[in-house]
Amino acid sequence: MSKSEPGPVAAGGDGDKLLLTLDGFSGPLDLLLDLARAQKLDLAQISILQLVDQFLAVIDGARRVRLEIAADWLVMAAWLTWLKSRLLLPKDEPAAVEGEAAADILAARLKELGAMRAGAAWLAARPMLGQDVFGRGAPENLISTDRSKITADLPMLLRAYVDGIRRGTVKPRYEPRQLSFWTVQDALKRLSASMRGSAGWSDLEQFLPANLSGRERNAAIASTLIASLEMARGGGLVLRQDSAFSPIMVALGELEIEVVEGETAPIVAPSDLQDNSEPDAGELA
């Protein structure tokens, strides 16, 4: 299909008038109407034969300057050539009647396009809103919204009741939060592994896991102290504290340290510990 604006674009740009003329039309019918208008103001009285000749002359001219002509223009040219051949026949030949009918159709189409073009002009001549006349620039919104009403009917209420009851009877399964603190068990493992073979007194705090702070560090201190007390009770360690709040020192005791089996539990990253808020109990079901 051709484009709606079959403007042949000149490659050379030799400023041929014909090129510009053809470019200004939105289709072959558009050009025909223009030619007809130039012939006679009243579209009912134009000579179709003359019009055909003028149109074919324009197309020929375009061809001479080797313009690329869109398909619908060529189709129209071919049809007009056929029409011309019929119109030139003597009136009594059957083919001539065919030609007359075709000419009438063409005339009717031109008339219709002419009417529509006049319609467009009529519209364009009216004072247009936003162009020639203007409406209120800042209209006022005299509507206030009332949100006090509720959308709810009895079926919704019944449903809500059944849901609410069911929520209450289905007890949410208790899921303990993953322990994220340094446990006594962890401390026992670490302390027993580290102390074996050591000599002299060491600060208990040396046996804390690295990179802890705040509550996690406090928990680790408590766990490690409990672990050390437990080991001291078994005789594996001895503890001493020189004064209140001074460092707690540990050394190997007289008895063997009981080996605590197992891997040290990993420390959970601090970011996992931050959300301590209780989840909405209603969302558990």
Binding site: D72, A115, L123, R126, M128, G137
Partner: protein, 186 residues
């Protein structure tokens, strides 16, 4: 029954005159609204024994010749600036670009032939209708689709939208001149 013609000052007799209160109400209602206000909307706000058309006629008379005029468009009434002020106003008030010729022609075909299919528009213009042109018309809300024609392919039917009337200051589609009248003008 008095009738208001698009912003014409030569308005019929304003009998004994609508009350100032009713005029004020009509004035503020139409002033505030974005869309043309139908007479029956005004009537709904007026006491039952008051004729809304008479109030509108009175309001029209009051604004005749002023910088803002009451016009009857698209089944309702709207205030608009007087056309003669356009040149000076547009130095300050911005306006959108006018529709290109192809779009105006297509709009005219839709207006006079509605409901019309795209193929019919192309037939009348003798040229393919570009998507861009249809989009321009849709963007300005001047046209809309109105179902399908019941033929093979079920092509979409195009009609003018309410904004078309208001844009061109028409009371209704009957205000469009007949096709024969268009041709007579040449």
């Amino acid at each position: 029954m008095s009738e208001i013609t698009g912003g014409q000052p030569d308005l019929p007799d304003v009998v004994s005159g609508p009350s100032e209160d009713h005029l004020r109400l009509a004035e503020s209602l139409i002033f505030a609204s974005v869309e043309p206000v139908a007479a029956r909307v005004l009537a709904g706000l007026l006491p039952e024994d008051v004729d809304a058309t008479a109030v509108l006629a009175g309001l029209n008379a009051r604004y005749a010749g002023r910088g803002v005029e009451l016009v009857a468009v698209g089944g309702g009434y709207q205030f608009r600036t007087a056309p003669d002020l356009a040149a000076r106003l547009t130095r300050v008030v911005s306006r959108p670009r006018r529709l290109p010729r192809v779009a105006m022609e297509t709009l005219a075909i839709i207006a006079w032939h509605q409901p019309v299919t795209r193929a019919e528009i192309e037939e009348i213009r003798g040229a393919t209708l570009s998507q861009q042109t249809l989009e321009q018309l849709l963007e300005t809300s001047l046209v809309r689709t109105a179902g399908h024609r019941d033929v093979p392919g079920r092509p979409i039917l195009w009609v003018t939208a309410p904004a078309f009337l208001s844009q061109f200051g028409l009371k209704d589609l009957k205000e469009l001149p007949r096709r024969e009248e268009l041709l007579e003008e040449g």
